[in-house]
């Protein structure tokens, strides 16, 4: 088990290196191939009307006039041991892990990410709890009485949930419950400061996001349950004289949920890398909003940073899923 985790972690690190290399390539090699000079590239990293000194400083700091592998090495070195940016009049010390420096905002990327991460984690985890509860419950009840009124209603809501885009449901919820009825606040407060205020502000984004996801989970749970409830071992459980409730939960649901774990890991991993639309709609200053801002400002270092963080979460959640799988299903051997 331990050696499996170590091996998987090493594999995850290698995978992340590949992801950085690809991302790096997109940002640094492709423009070169397209014929951009180092000066033009450097210009992109600064705001409008840069002075020649600024351009020279960016070029020097990112090593744009050096070969690509040198630049990549500098970038990796920065993550591992930090970097120092010499901006002419001032120097900026960027401590490890240094994910780069935005020459537009004059801010380091990593502190931006860490300060925004709690918002994104709060959003993703709260929504995940809601959609798991809602989706699985609806799916199980639907599967136990397929064709019933509840089944049709729940699957109808599920279909609507998948089809309605966040910028519709989210804004509608905001308009109704926050602006008109004034039940929910709109200013994010950290959990550590005021938990009830925290939950109050996040409730609408949680629900809107959960509606979107629980729809898929309800359908997955329903089809999984319909399948497992026909398994031979369900008949065995009933033949033991177990109450139907125990048969469903202990024997049916446990098996039906296994494939859901994979999907759940992926979804949470992706959401932790930033819920772009949700965060924008609800003005939450999370990773996703940072990404949106950086993209529209064409600010490459933060985009690179967010991409890497998102990739990290996806890879990490995949590792968690694999480990979970082995505990859920004893037939999966970790070797």
């Amino acid at each position: 088990m331990i050696s499996y985790i170590i091996r998987r972690t090493i594999a995850a690190v290698i995978l992340l290196l590949v992801v950085t290399a690809v991302t790096f390539g997109i940002f640094f090699i492709l423009p070169k191939l397209a014929g951009q000079t180092a000066d033009q590239l450097a210009q992109q990293y600064i705001g409008k009307n840069p002075s020649p000194e600024d351009i020279a400083a960016v070029k020097r700091n990112l090593g744009l006039d050096q070969p690509v592998y040198e630049q990549y090495w500098n970038f990796i070195k920065g993550i591992v041991s930090g970097a120092t940016y010499d901006l002419g009049p001032t120097t900026v010390r960027c401590d490890a892990p240094c994910f780069g420096y935005s020459f537009k905002d004059h801010l380091e990327v990593w502190p931006q990410l860490t300060s925004r991460l709690p918002v994104t984690i709060s959003l993703a985890s709260g929504a995940a709890v809601l959609w798991l509860l809602g989706g699985i419950t609806a799916g199980v009840i639907s599967a136990l009485k397929p064709g019933s009124f509840f089944d049709r209603a729940a699957m109808g809501v599920a279909l609507a949930g998948v089809s309605l885009p966040m910028f519709f449901t989210g804004q509608l919820a905001l308009l109704l419950f926050s602006y008109q009825l004034e039940i929910f606040g709109r200013t994010y407060v950290p959990f550590t400061e005021n938990p009830s205020q925290w939950a109050n502000t996040l409730f609408l984004p949680w629900c809107s996001l959960a509606l979107l996801y629980s729809a898929i989970y309800a359908r997955l749970t329903r089809s999984g349950m319909l399948e497992t409830m026909n398994e031979d071992y369900i008949r065995t459980a009933r033949a033991k004289g177990l109450r139907e409730r125990n048969v469903v939960v202990k024997h049916g649901l446990r098996a039906a949920l296994t494939p859901l774990v994979t999907v759940f890991g992926m979804d949470v991993g992706l959401l932790l890398g930033g819920a772009l639309i949700t965060e924008t709609v609800f003005s939450l200053h999370g990773i996703g909003e940072y990404a949106v801002q950086s993209i529209s400002a064409n600010d490459l270092p933060p985009i690179l940073g967010v991409t890497l963080l998102a990739a990290f979460f996806v890879v990490f959640m995949n590792l968690v899923v694999d480990l979970l799988y082995a505990t859920i299903d004893p037939r999966v051997r970790l070797s």
Partner: protein
């Protein structure tokens, strides 16, 4: 009793005390029908039999003859789950003086696993892959006994030991996929016997096992029956299995009983052409190697459109022996042909004896 009115069955009036049978297990005119889009599937259509404690009944028939449906009906397993509403059951099933068809489902649930238990065909799919073998046995025990997990675990180890699993205190923590096929079936038997059930139903218990293991499992069932004194219903398509283990044999065809009687009568004086067919298609060690097996020609009947008259008439080589086309117009009733030996066939006693002694027996 609502199910009864649906099928319009004659039996099933509120049961009076004097109706209660004396046999330990008695099935009376059991009908299990499944409405489908294509029509009503009459899986079991009027089946009756009795079984005493300490005795073994073998139910024999080809696929789709209603053997398994019968066993699940006794266990009350048809009514459960999403499909439960789509089943129509009528008739009576008496277990130790209690009627089960019309009983409250929760009452039947309490009997399930405690008074009657079941062994299934494929122990790999019949055991939950995610739970340890031991904890599945513990679960079966604790449903009906208010004991601690520790006590139940001791009981599970004891049972695993009894069914011949080596190192039971270690194997109790193994998962089903870590057991071999035979060991898994032994564990399944341990799970069924953990509550000392008085009725044990084994649905094709050896079909998924290889031949050497089959004999061991049958020996085990026989030994355990002697020890526990339970009534055993063994369902199989393999006459070899019932020859070894059963006291009585019931031959099913198209959801009905075509012949029933003591094991020796069925093997040495079979009365029904279908039973002859089964015997003819069974490989026997005492038969010359050059002899070919005689298959029963044709296909099993559709349970939606059961052939009129005798359900076996399209495949029966003697369908035209009785006069007036009666085999195709009138369904034969089960008639006693000797001590506790019944058959449902239009052939006259003389014809049956003649055909058996002159045509069938010499070829076997």
């Amino acid at each position: 009793m609502t199910e009864l009115s649906k099928t319009g069955a004659a039996v099933g009036e509120p049961v009076r005390a004097q109706d209660a049978p004396t046999a330990f297990l008695e099935v009376r005119d059991l009908k299990v029908h499944f409405p489908t889009d294509d029509g009503l599937v009459k899986s079991v259509d009027g089946l009756s039999f009795q079984l005493e404690k300490g005795k073994t009944l073998g139910i024999v028939g080809e696929s789709g003859s209603g053997k398994s449906v019968t066993s699940l009906a006794i266990m009350g397993l048809h009514r459960l789950g999403a499909r439960g509403k789509n089943v129509r059951m009528s008739g009576e099933i008496w277990l130790d003086g209690k009627e089960l068809v019309g009983a409250d489902p929760d009452e039947v649930r309490r009997l399930r696993g405690r008074d009657m238990a079941m062994i299934f065909q494929d122990p790999l799919s019949a055991m939950h892959p995610y739970y340890k073998v031991g904890s599945q046995i513990v679960e079966a025990y604790r449903v009906h006994h208010d004991v601690s997990k520790k006590v139940a675990r001791k009981r599970a180890i004891e049972l695993l030991d009894r069914v011949g699993i080596p190192e039971p205190d270690k194997r109790v923590d193994g998962y089903p996929h870590e057991f071999s096929g035979g060991m898994r079936q032994r564990a399944m038997i341990a799970m069924a016997l953990v509550n000392n059930p008085e009725l044990l139903i084994a649905d094709e218990p050896t079909t998924a096992l290889d031949v050497t293991v089959q004999a061991q499992i049958l020996d085990l069932i026989r030994d355990l029956q002697k020890e526990f004194g339970s009534a055993v219903v063994i369902i199989t398509h393999d006459l070899g299995v019932v020859a070894e283990i059963a006291d009585d044999i019931l031959v099913m065809y198209g959801g009905r009983c075509v012949e029933r009687g003591p094991v020796d009568d069925i093997f040495y004086e079979p009365q029904h052409p279908y039973t002859w067919g089964l015997l003819g298609s069974m490989p026997r060690i005492d038969r010359a190697q050059t002899d070919r097996l005689i298959p029963v020609k044709g296909q099993p009947p559709s349970l939606i459109n059961v052939p009129s008259g005798c359900a076996f008439n399209p495949r029966c080589p003697y369908a035209d022996v009785p006069k007036d086309n009666i085999t195709r117009t009138e369904r034969p009733e089960l008639r006693e042909v000797g001590g506790r030996h019944f058959t449902a066939c239009h052939l006259s006693q003389e014809d049956r004896t003649r055909i058996w002694t002159e045509e069938i027996a010499p070829k076997l």
